[in-house]
Symmetry: C2
Subunit: 232 residues, 2 copies
DNA sequence: CGCTATGTTGATCCATATCAATAAGTGTGG
DNA sequence: CCACACTTATTGATATGGATCAACATAGCG
């Protein structure tokens, strides 16, 4: 594995406190792969053989039952996914596929568990990471259960704008149909939802979005730190 | 705090590996309280001062936004709640209220964090507990996003029957209106959903439910371990 | 330059919520 | 032990958010 990726991973909160020796053991068994968009990485129900670390790109976690399918979360770099399955030595609860071209490091779960048992700094880091993941799914669930799809879109746009540095105009990272799936709605409905936000100063042309009047959009979206703040 | 509760808590996976000395420190600062049904225990947004351990009864975790409210999860004994908030030293993301009369142990979060830092067996136990909590919210989210309310009810009843020992007839723990909230629907809708399950051998009188033909109900409910098995 | 994927618009359908009325329990005080 | 009040459950009518289906418009891309 190239050194600069080593570095990126080492910088992750999950790995930055552990003994160098243990980190190297982890990295020896690990490997990095680059995947094109729309590639299935894991399937729910499979044994959790690898802890995944998304180095670049983005990944959709989704789930299916009885012929229906739903997106559960989007993973952005640099972060891990399916840590809980790795720790509990249980099958994955979600499937994963790349949204864009993505570089992913795969670390054998056995190694993670072995070092977790001996390196207590690593164990503590895992706690923090898991607590963070836990809180982020709770926030996702609140977003989903308490808001209509237009409200979700509005809040999503506010967050995306903040991520993009706060300029009035910015790029969505992906196509609208992807965004629809991320927000848990159909592309048709998203199209209408965008129209519905027009009166609040939102204009979308292709993957480019312009928020003319943030205050007005906020009045409609009612963002709340206990749902929208990734650090809360 | 009475000794037998001490015992119950010590038996919890979260506390059974830690040093006796540390456990006693935790218990010294802790206290147990009994609450009547429908009492608010915590409010989302409040600082996470206490780790809660439900000793008996049951607790509803819920959340509100913009005048709407939704139930997020039900806690059953003996287990902890709001562990993630305690660990991250962040405000609660959910509110909690008792469903039935409940006995709850409150352990100061500062103590939990202090011992988490020094007792690595405890830190490891927290990881396992958190991973379990994480997976259970994922399962709840899948249940919610992938199933209609009748399907959710059907699967709930199958699980409740299993919990009750598998007899064809058993008690729901609470009123139907509570069940409705737990399943994320209105009481009216639940009433109709029960009627809809009649053809599959479900009869409900008051809080008593009878499943005449489990096979038929299963054929409709399509239970799946990756959603319905609490151990997965 | 046309083909294929993406996006928009309109019509309709479905699950579930809401509102309203009634029925059935449940508990309390006389 | 019954009558009354209050809560909970059921049933019906209607509203709404969102999905689905179908047609059409656009835009990348080989």
């Amino acid at each position: 594995m190239p050194d600069f990726i080593h570095e990126d991973i080492r910088k992750l909160h999950l790995f930055d406190a552990m003994a160098q020796e243990h980190f190297q053991t982890l990295m020896r068994g690990a490997f990095v792969q680059t995947f094109p968009p729309q590639i299935d990485l894991i399937t729910e129900g499979d044994p959790s053989d690898f802890l995944h670390v998304l180095v670049s790109g983005s990944v959709d976690l989704f789930s299916a039952w009885n012929g229906r399918e739903t997106s559960m979360a989007t993973v952005r770099p640099v972060s891990t996914f399916i840590l809980a399955a790795t720790i509990r030595e249980q099958p994955y609860l979600m499937s994963a596929r790349t949204l864009e071209k993505s570089r992913i490091a795969l670390i054998p779960s056995v190694e993670v568990r072995a070092i977790f048992d001996t390196d207590s700094d690593f164990a503590r880091a895992i706690v923090t990471e898991l607590a963070l993941c836990y809180r982020s799914v709770i926030k996702a669930q609140k977003d989903l259960k308490l808001r209509t799809s237009s409200e979700r879109l509005a809040n999503y746009l506010l967050r995306a704008q903040a991520r993009a540095g706060g300029q009035p105009e910015f790029e969505l990272g992906f196509e609208k149909r992807r965004l629809a799936s991320v927000l848990g709605m159909t592309p048709e409905h998203l199209s209408r939802a965008f129209k519905g936000l027009h009166p609040h100063g939102v204009a979308a042309t292709g993957t480019r979005v312009r928020i003319a009047d943030r205050t007005s959009l906020e009045r409609f979206a009612q963002p709340n730190p206990l749902i929208d703040d990734p650090k809360a």
